[in-house]
């Protein structure tokens, strides 16, 4: 598959390629100084580009096809991962994966949206858009985690719950609503991580927890910028403005009191160094788990409900 390069990544990647090229024949020539100069330049370009990302550019990074997905993080941070399938009522939804595994010594349940990387796998994964059975599988396994007193980690990365005839027939809304209600009082620690796209109810459907973490270049909002543009501006053309207006980045959400902690990404985004992104996440997860495991289950639930109850803004 051809490498996908976003517009604003271009100058950086071109310079990087040039450096690599020069290195390949630097054995014969003395151009070390030149290479150093170029490296300093690429460093500076990187800093300028990535410290001035617009919200829409972050949305593009969050959707980058090379960005690590749920199964990548699972592969990079767990051992003994055992995927479990099916909602026991209708089907197994491949847009949500779930199973038990270990992070260091800690056995946990991991539930996450899963996108595909090419056309074939995207069709299999339905582009990461779950049907009701996906949410019901997630709930079934979360209840299993409660039964065996295992903490739950959910990884959010979806363009939305699937809007289809079958999804409506089988109660997409009910499946999401049920998860919101049940997750709010499950007596085990729940850590939610927005790893890529957090689009609306389809993301929140596995997104209620004690700690909400968010990757630096992920987005999370009530609607995708394109859809927002099409409804409010009656055209798809205003996606950049919509992204700005929605205030949907990790920093924005931290300011709004929704996200507890931002997971820093390697320079250029998680797709430039998935291993490093995964190790950063692992360290943070272990730290948060240690703290949450000390809290009694009843208190955990109380605090979780209080946390979500405090969200919002109004005057009276």
């Amino acid at each position: 598959m051809a490498r996908v390069i976003l517009d604003f990544e271009k100058p950086i990647i071109e310079l990087e390629q040039k450096i690599a090229e020069m290195r390949s024949y630097s054995d014969n020539l003395d151009i070390a100084e030149e290479i150093n100069k170029l490296e300093a330049k690429v460093d500076q370009v990187r800093r300028t580009v990535y410290s001035n990302l617009t919200r829409w550019q972050r949305v593009q990074l969050a959707r980058h096809p090379d960005r690590p997905y749920t199964l990548d993080y699972i592969r990079l941070i767990t051992t003994d991962f055992t995927e479990l399938h099916g909602d026991r009522h209708f089907a197994d939804d491949k847009a949500i994966v779930a199973g038990f595994g270990r992070i260091d010594k800690e056995a946990v349940l991991i539930v996450g949206h899963q996108k595909g990387r090419d056309t074939k796998s995207n069709i299999e994964r339905n582009f990461g858009m779950p049907n009701p059975e996906g949410y019901r599988k997630a709930l079934r396994l979360m209840q299993l985690a409660v039964k065996f007193r295992k903490p739950i980690i959910t990884l959010l990365d979806t363009p939305g719950a699937y809007p289809g005839i079958g999804a409506e027939e089988r109660g997409q809304a009910e499946a999401i609503a049920r998860n919101l209600l049940e997750m709010s009082h499950l007596p085990v620690p729940i850590i939610v991580v927005i790893i890529g796209e957090g689009a609306s109810g389809g993301a929140l459907g596995i997104g209620v927890g004690d700690r909400i973490l968010m990757f630096e270049n992920a987005w999370y909002s009530v609607i995708a910028p394109e859809s927002c543009s099409s409804i409010l501006w009656r055209s798809w053309e205003y996606k950049e403005q919509a992204a700005e207006a929605l205030k949907l980045t990790a920093e924005d959400l931290k300011e709004q009191g929704i996200v507890d902690r931002i997971v820093p990404e390697p320079m250029g985004g998680a797709h430039r160094d998935p291993e490093k992104a995964a190790q950063t996440l692992k360290a943070i997860l272990l730290e948060e788990l240690r703290a949450l495991k000390k809290v009694k289950p009843e208190k955990l639930v109380q605090e979780r409900i209080a946390k979500f109850s405090a969200m919002g803004s109004w005057k009276e």
Binding site: A161, Y162, P163, G164, I165, A167, E168, E169, R170, G171, Q172, A173, E174, I176, A177, R178, L180, L181, E182, S184, H185, S200, G201, L204, G205, G207, V208, Y220, S221, V222, I223, C228, I231, L232, W233, Y238, Q241, A242, A245, L246, K247, L248, D252, L253, Q256, I258, R304, I305, F308, S309, M311, G312, S313, W314, K315, E316
Partner: protein, 280 residues
């Protein structure tokens, strides 16, 4: 006959259609029957000929369902705040002010305490006329508080939904209201207090995907549009026309997502019967 054919477009009025017209005569949205306002009111805003249910608001529902003089409104003055500084074709702030002026309401839900045939209840009713019944922080907070009141006072909770979904102009904060209300409903459920969800036309998006679908009992009005995604979005996604009756109350009853469909004229007596059956 060509002489009489209109060569230009039909004349259209620039005045938007109103949910409840001010005039003396109203045309039924179902069968086209012309109905006198008095008769419409007597019929609780349903068509005497075809049973079409006109869209009505909290004022009418409280009048229909609650015993006369029993209603005590809560959090009446709560208003939305433009926390994101959101502007699309119009600043959100202006949208709020205009809606307040136009509807005489402060936001898209009203809550309070009252009685249904003598049974004390906590009740919330959405108003579609206020920015499409959209759910932002005010709707979230008022319903969460109503749920808390129901739990603390041990009174059944009734919520009448009518909404296009979450309010985009409050971004992720409006999304979080779904979690907030659902968490409060979990506590109400754990306390063993009944919650009856009444779904009216239309109930879609984040409202359906949270409190509207979490009732112990779901009552729908006839032919109400109820769903997660709107029909237009689904049509665009699948590129096909939708089957007749798709996402209507009757469809949801068939698929097992509502307990019953009740005509507005029987809503109060049905509610009272159910509350008495579930009450102690």
């Amino acid at each position: 006959m060509a002489w009489f054919r209109r060569s230009k477009e039909n004349i259209s009025t620039s005045v938007p259609k109103k949910d409840i017209p001010d005039g003396m005569w109203t045309k039924c949205g179902g069968c086209g029957e012309i109905i006198h306002r008095k008769l419409l009111e007597q019929n609780l805003f349903t068509c005497p000929k075809c049973n079409y249910h006109f869209r009505i608001g909290s004022k009418e529902y409280f009048g229909i369902l609650l015993d006369a003089g029993s209603f005590r409104e809560m959090d009446r003055k709560m208003r939305a705040v433009d926390v994101l500084g959101f502007t699309d074709t119009k600043p959100y702030k202006n949208r709020i002010d205009d809606s307040i002026r136009k509807t005489g309401l402060n936001d898209a839900v009203r809550t309070g305490e009252g009685a249904v045939e003598g049974v004390p209840v906590v009740i919330a009713c959405m108003d579609f006329s206020f920015i499409g019944g959209s759910m932002g922080s005010v709707v979230g907070e008022k319903i969460a508080r109503a749920t808390e009141t129901a739990r603390k006072k041990e009174k059944p909770l009734i919520v009448i939904s009518s909404s296009g979904g979450a309010r985009m102009m409050e971004g992720a904060l409006s999304l979080m209201q779904m979690a907030k209300m659902s968490a409060r409903l979990a506590q109400l459920s754990d306390a063993g207090i009944p919650y009856i969800s009444i779904l009216t036309d239309p109930t879609t998006g984040g409202v359906t995907a949270s409190f509207a679908m979490l009732g112990d009992i779901h009552i729908a009005e006839p032919s109400a549009l109820i769903g997660f995604a709107g029909p237009r979005v689904i049509r665009q996604t699948i590129g096909k026309d939708l089957p007749a009756g798709f996402q209507r109350s009757e469809f949801l009853l068939e698929k097992g997502f509502v307990d019953m469909i009740v005509h507005r004229k029987e809503l109060k007596s049905t509610l009272a019967r159910v509350l008495n059956l579930l009450g102690s």
